[in-house]
């Protein structure tokens, strides 16, 4: 296996974008998830929302047309599409927890084989920043985690048990990495897709938990 075989960040984002159903209501977390917005098919009408109360986020603004009051959860400038609306923070999280958010795409430090998500604090850091991740992890109807398959020192981020503090137990439905797309099922982790440069054995070698091939599902 080539240690470098893997999708680029924008390829991962585009892959996630393809999986978002037309018309669905989606929250993109800070970091990698937020890149998904740029890859959405405008015709699909995916409704992007952010926890700071924007509903109907459009493409990034043109350089000189940025409205300082229009930012997403990552505090970056965005635009609002025709038909957009605004909620205060309490109502924005009512949307997140209340059953109307179809998909939350969350960045991750680790995901366990049973879908535990760790995303808000590295054990070595005294300070974490949880933001809205814990609410989205329990509130969205489907939770997609996105991360690099291994950390910078090559350690697997898909693990049997999370060693990082949890964001929520048993919440991740699907994991997107630079190497694979993996579903968390009752039977275990099921590989839906592998980067064409990798074999299942390659993937297993950099994964800290058992992987089932799609056929086994």
């Amino acid at each position: 296996m080539s240690p470098k075989a893997g999708w680029a960040l924008d390829e991962i984002a585009a892959r996630i974008a393809r999986d978002l159903e037309p018309g669905s209501c989606v929250n993109l977390g800070i970091g990698m998830p937020i890149r998904v917005g740029a890859h959405l098919d405008p015709a699909a009408g995916v409704i992007l929302t952010s926890e700071n109360g924007l509903i109907g986020i459009g493409p990034p603004p043109e350089p000189n047309r940025h409205d300082p009051d229009v930012i997403d959860a990552g505090k970056g400038p965005v635009t609002l599409l025709p038909g957009a609306s605004v909620l205060d923070h309490a109502d924005a999280f009512a949307l997140i927890r209340g059953g109307r958010l179809d998909v939350g795409v969350l960045g991750a430090f680790q995901v366990s084989q049973r879908g535990d998500l760790a995303s808000w604090r590295r054990p070595t850091e005294p300070l974490g920043s949880v933001g809205g991740a814990m609410d989205i992890a329990v509130g969205a109807r489907k939770r997609y985690a996105v991360m690099m398959h291994c950390d910078k020192s090559g350690e697997p981020k898909i693990v049997q048990y999370c060693t990082y503090p949890l964001t929520a137990p048993r919440c991740v439905n699907r994991i997107y990495t630079d190497m694979a797309v993996i579903d968390v099922t009752e039977q275990g982790l099921v590989v839906r897709e592998i980067h064409p440069g990798l074999s299942l054995a390659d993937l297993r070698a950099v994964t800290g938990a058992s992987l089932l091939p799609l056929a086994a599902n």
């Binding site: 015709a43 509903i55 025709p82 038909g83 109307r100």
Partner: protein, 229 residues
């Protein structure tokens, strides 16, 4: 065509009759309005004609006269009502159904009714309120003292369907309400699996400034314009 929120998906239904046709027997139906103001009369009349049975109706009042909620009680379609103010003049159809033992009443203080619905819409598990503590409406409720104040536990009240009324909608389902016709309508729209809206007027997407939307279209599934059949 410019990109719009939801990609121009059509939420507009051609009639109230069709919009409520899949409400099933035994459904919990949240119904907006306070007195006669902000009540989705058109949707309720369609529901009365549709004759889903054994409904649980959650609404501040229990209808007066012959229309709206009163028509549901008259037709014998309601098995339970959750309300804060059921006994008012003109509520003879509710009263008769109640006296016949056909309808169970859960009397809920008005603020608790609104908050239980909001609690469901906010995806929370329950809340503590002082309202009702030490009264017979707290019977069967758990109580607890927090920092020296005594509360009762109230649980979320979620609807299978919300029938609400609004003044203006854009085609993406963003709503505006008028004056005290707002009342329970926005919180109910947020607390149901399916939200059906009767609206006075539908305008194009983009005609509402985002800051002027009272209830975002993500909470709205179906729109019925009042001028439609």
């Amino acid at each position: 065509m410019a990109q719009t929120v939801g990609g121009g998906r059509n939420k507009l239904w051609s009639s109230a009759r069709l919009a409520v046709a899949d409400i099933s027997d035994g459904a919990v139906v949240l119904v907006g309005g306070f007195g006669d103001v902000g009540v989705p009369f058109r949707l309720l009349d369609a529901l009365a004609a549709h004759t889903a049975r054994g409904l649980t109706v959650v609404s501040n009042n229990c209808g007066t006269g012959e229309r709206g909620l009163a028509a549901l009680f008259k037709a014998g379609l309601v098995s339970k009502a959750c309300a804060s103010f059921p006994s008012q003049s003109g509520n003879h159809h509710f009263k008769a159904a109640f006296d016949r033992g056909e309808v169970e009443l859960e009397l809920i203080p008005q603020g608790t009714l609104a908050e239980r619905i909001r609690c469901a819409g906010a995806g929370l598990g329950g809340f503590y309120t002082r309202t009702g503590f030490g009264t017979e409406l707290a019977d069967g409720h758990q109580t607890r003292e927090i920092n020296g104040v005594r509360y009762i536990l109230e649980l979320p009240l979620r609807g299978d369907v919300a029938l609400i009324s609004a003044d203006v909608a854009d085609e993406a389902g963003n709503l505006r309400f008028r004056r005290s016709a707002r009342n329970f309508n926005p919180v109910m729209a947020m607390a149901a699996g399916l939200t059906i809206v009767q609206v006075n007027r539908i305008i194009p997407v983009g005609a509402l400034d985002p800051d002027d939307v009272h209830l975002p279209g993500v909470f709205v599934d179906r729109l019925v314009e009042l001028t439609s059949p």
